[in-house]
């Protein structure tokens, strides 16, 4: 299934959820999103989303020196980000339940 279009709408939410679980640097967040089943997520999308969330004050960032290779820029969630995660999470819950109910009534056997 091509989930790229679906992903677009919830990428902020997904990234916030991943960083909320544990601080992470860009590629680490990409990896965790893919491991969670969002296989189609692109590197640039995630890096761009991290930067946008950081600019919006939802994330904080700090640099961790690396012995091999460039430093890693880690992102952590801020109270603003946590509030955003809660709000968007609730929205998503309502939305997916609504769509789930629709599928149940029309096909009788969604999923």
């Amino acid at each position: 299934m091509d989930s790229t279009q679906l992903l677009k709408g919830v990428l902020d939410l997904a990234v916030l959820a991943v960083v909320d679980a544990e601080d992470g640097y860009g590629y680490d967040v990409v990896r965790r999103l893919r491991a969670a089943g969002l296989d189609d997520v692109g590197d640039a999308s995630v890096y761009g989303t991290l930067r946008r969330l950081y600019a919006a004050g939802s994330l904080t960032s700090y640099v961790v020196p690396s012995e091999s290779g460039p430093h890693r820029k880690y992102y952590g969630i801020t109270p603003v980000g946590r509030a955003e995660l809660k709000r968007q999470g609730d929205d998503w819950q309502l939305f997916s339940e609504a769509v789930g109910r629709l599928l149940d009534t029309t096909t009788g056997s969604a999923r």
Partner: protein
């Protein structure tokens, strides 16, 4: 290692260029520290995971919920590059002036700027005369034309009549203004020369009572 850094700098530049049509703050938000992120990505997965900069830019754009870059991006990129270089030249000129000693020639130049506005209007007027007729006329219609030119030039210099907005919005208008100013500077010596000759001719005519210079000159020299 060093080579990778240089390549990434260029890559970042290319990505920024592909986003040149976006407002500055949005582009900055999308690409701030992009180099750091790319260095990390390359370190994790190797340089060959990076797509073409335009593709990367398109993905940044799409993930931020922005409309795809239109075909006009290239045009706007060019316009921005021109604007940037004009701005840079202007800033360079300002710095040059400020670096000069003797208590700020900038203030002096700003004060005499209106003189230039009048002078370039006069140059334009002389050029217009030259295009229309062999001699410089100082009659009613031509004086009216001069007044119109002076008013237009001063208003242009003062950035009145919405000129300011036009110059910010249109690169072509800005280039045209630069070109007109350069043209006026280039035509100034010729215009002064022509005026001096005209004065000499008028004086000669007043002394000799007739256009003596036309009678004295060999026929082929007066042919237009």
């Amino acid at each position: 290692m060093n080579e990778t850094t240089i390549d990434l700098d260029r890559y970042v530049d290319e990505v920024r260029k592909a986003l040149a049509d976006l407002p500055d703050d949005v582009r900055e938000e999308l690409t701030e520290d992009l180099g750091v992120d790319l260095a990390e990505l390359v370190d994790e997965r190797g340089a060959d995971v990076l797509p073409a900069p335009e593709v990367y830019a398109a993905e940044l754009r799409s993930a931020a919920g922005l409309a795809p870059g239109s075909g006009r991006v290239r045009e706007r990129v060019f316009a921005r590059a021109v604007t940037d270089s004009v701005d840079a030249a202007h800033a360079h000129w300002d710095r040059l002036l400020d670096a000069l000693p003797a208590g700020g020639p900038r203030g002096f130049l700003t004060a005499v700027q209106p003189v230039w506005w009048v002078a370039r209007a006069w140059v334009a007027w002389m050029v217009a005369q030259d295009l229309r007729q062999p001699s410089v006329e100082l009659n009613g219609p031509w004086i009216a034309v001069l007044v119109v030119f002076v008013v237009a030039s001063v208003q242009l210099g003062r950035r009145s009549w919405g000129v300011d907005r036009l110059l910010t919005a249109s690169v072509a208008a800005r280039l045209l203004l630069v070109a007109l100013n350069i043209g006026a500077v280039a035509a100034l010596p010729g215009a002064v020369d022509r005026a001096v000759w005209q004065i000499a001719e008028d004086r000669g005519a007043s002394i000799w009572g007739e256009p003596w210079y036309e009678l004295a000159a060999p026929p082929d020299a007066t042919a237009p």
